[in-house]
Subunit: 378 residues, 2 copies
């Protein structure tokens, strides 16, 4: 009946690691604290061995000696309301920063609304004084070689760089949290393929026509849907506005399409901007009962739409969790002097009424009256 699983463990000291590897304790210390005087291959070996042996450094003490490390965060603005993807990224980053404050890490928000601004900021970072930045978190608006090159060069100066993006180019030593935007639209296609009626039409919002990310999302949705359900017709409905509140064209185009012939059995909002527009268009059409409504991103607004039964499901792209882990990963990298690495992805899940609570960020869970503002706006 008795089956002991664990061997007796104990505290691992520098000495134990140096003995295991046959190198001096000084070299082990240098390797683990990111100091010069050891080769990079030995440093990697020491870090790996220390990790395997369960060596635990006192990072709080080490960070006191090291002084403040600054991480520059180059992302689009946090618009404050909890309704957009980047707002949740920022929220995740600042919650993680708050938890890790004892590590003596300081964050600096460097806002860029487009690639030109991003380029300017990265240029500045590249030419900042050595040691001014220990880390950089950013993402890519498009596949822009100039931006890739800047990121590569910043990383080359010894700054730890993390990119929240799918499929970044070969950037040695750059960490990555995949955003999995194309997987999120493939999950949407899986869901739509199960709920759509035979030989019906499926509508999807276009997203931004000049965005490479949105283009890839549309393509991945359509490819996956055609593979699973060749009987369906997918139709892209145009309309996108940076200001969610004024997304009138999409709503009107959607409503117009619904007045035409041809059964529509499912509608998919490609981005969080489109959630409300598709709900309103379908409600106007009076055909809600026969149409399945799938939104994107869990936020104040979509939580309320799910609760009210005005939307059936939402693809959660886990922006909060991505921000949270991005900051954790880069802090860990700076503290432990680790090389860049790809982080295991955040799941992309389908959220419906019954599992909504699991996915609601605690900040919104604590609000009794989620989306009160939304209700009043009507």
């Amino acid at each position: 009946m008795r089956q002991r699983e664990d061997k007796r463990g104990g505290k691992i000291r520098l000495k134990d690691i140096s003995r295991r590897l046959g190198v001096s304790a000084v070299s082990v210390h240098r390797a683990l604290s990111g100091k010069s005087g050891v080769s990079e291959s030995l440093r990697e070996k020491v870090i790996r061995t220390a990790d395997e042996m369960g060596y635990i450094r006192n990072y709080a003490a080490a960070s006191m000696k090291r002084g403040i490390s600054r991480i520059g965060i180059v992302l689009p603005r946090d618009h404050g309301t909890l309704n957009l993807y980047f707002n949740y990224l920022w929220l995740g980053i600042s919650d993680s920063a708050e938890e890790l404050r004892y590590l003596n890490i300081e964050t600096e928000r460097l806002i860029c609304e487009d690639e030109r601004e991003q380029e300017r900021i990265l240029e500045k970072l590249l030419h900042s004084e050595s040691g001014e930045y220990a880390g950089l978190i950013t993402f890519f608006f498009t596949r822009n070689e100039r931006i890739f090159d800047l990121v590569r060069r910043i990383s080359g100066t010894g700054v730890s760089v993390l990119v929240i993006d799918d499929d970044p180019p070969e950037l040695s030593d750059v960490s990555c949290i995949p955003s999995n935007e194309t997987i999120s639209s493939a999950v949407a296609a899986d869901f739509v393929s199960l709920v759509a009626a035979e030989n019906s039409s499926v509508l999807l919002s276009s997203g931004r026509l000049d965005s490479a990310v949105h283009e890839r999302k549309r393509e991945s949705f359509i490819a996956a849907l055609r593979e699973r359900r060749p009987d369906l017709r997918e139709e892209i409905i145009e309309g996108y506005s940076r200001e969610r509140e004024s997304n009138v064209p999409l709503c009107e185009n959607m409503a117009k399409r619904l007045r035409e012939k041809g059964e529509v059995s499912a509608v998919y909002a490609l981005t969080s901007h489109d959630n409300r527009a598709i709900v309103e268009a379908i409600e106007k059409s009076g055909r809600r009962r026969r149409i399945r409504l799938l939104g994107t991103d869990l936020n104040e607004e979509s939580i309320l739409l799910l609760r009210q039964g005005r939307m059936d499901a939402v693809i959660d792209q886990a922006a909060y969790q991505k921000g949270y882990r991005a900051f954790q990963l880069i802090s860990d990298q700076i503290m432990k002097c680790l090389p860049g690495r790809r982080c295991s992805p955040q799941p992309i899940d389908i959220v419906m009424k019954a599992n909504l609570d699991f996915h609601t960020p605690w900040r919104l869970r604590e609000q009794e009256d989620i989306g009160g503002r939304m209700l009043r706006r009507e």
Copy 2:
């Protein structure tokens, strides 16, 4: 543009906590290391304050002084194959134990296949020598007052107790990881309500007729489905076997029902035992294309069925994650001398082909040929 978010942090010492609370450093030390000589209310206050201030104990060093802590784990057998709920619980527990081995914690498997065995084992634990067990992890087969009482008394002797179960009775100082089995069937109902055709029938497997858990799952599924889709007819199909391989009655009863009149548009396997039986029954009926198939629990077998497109979706009850967190939580409790607490629940999610990889435990992800055994068995 610049916005500094973090205040300068530093290493917190016992002295800082004692100064903040106006008590002696000796009292703080006693409180944090679980020693007598301080009141329970002061201990709680010290722990809370230390936590708020970001105090980090060197648990590895403390555990060396403390010696080995043993945790008894009282659960049904691990059947080895990765196809059943409890197997994944065990896997999660042992992976977590492996990671925390430096804490000098030892696990002891105490297998119980029914309540009688569980009662006998808990009796033994209750009368074991003081200090022989630091912790206990268990669950409840039914709502049995005798078992509740034993758990209560074991907790009263100072053993840290954690129960992996929904809605456990008022047991002071007992930690809990909710299993959320009734939520999992409510999520199933949400999904079925979106995929089922109008006025059609929905079949569900009965599960064990003598199991209180399965009864609650059936009830919660039916209640949620009736609320969302009063036009549907739900029909319970009987058949359950402890040995998944010999689950012939369910398959036969299901096949018989499918030969009868009345459109069936969705079938739900209430437990992981039933996944294969419902797939086979529907394939025999030749009506696969018009029926949506929803299974329970992600495991070697269901992963393969999803990949092959023989099943449409699976409700993931996250057994691995529950086991993993159970062990983490109880170790943390023992190390930090914390009182029992309810852990935030693991999400219950719908897994389809496109998001399968996110939910596949790494052990199975590494296997190129997942479920090769399954294929050969056919």
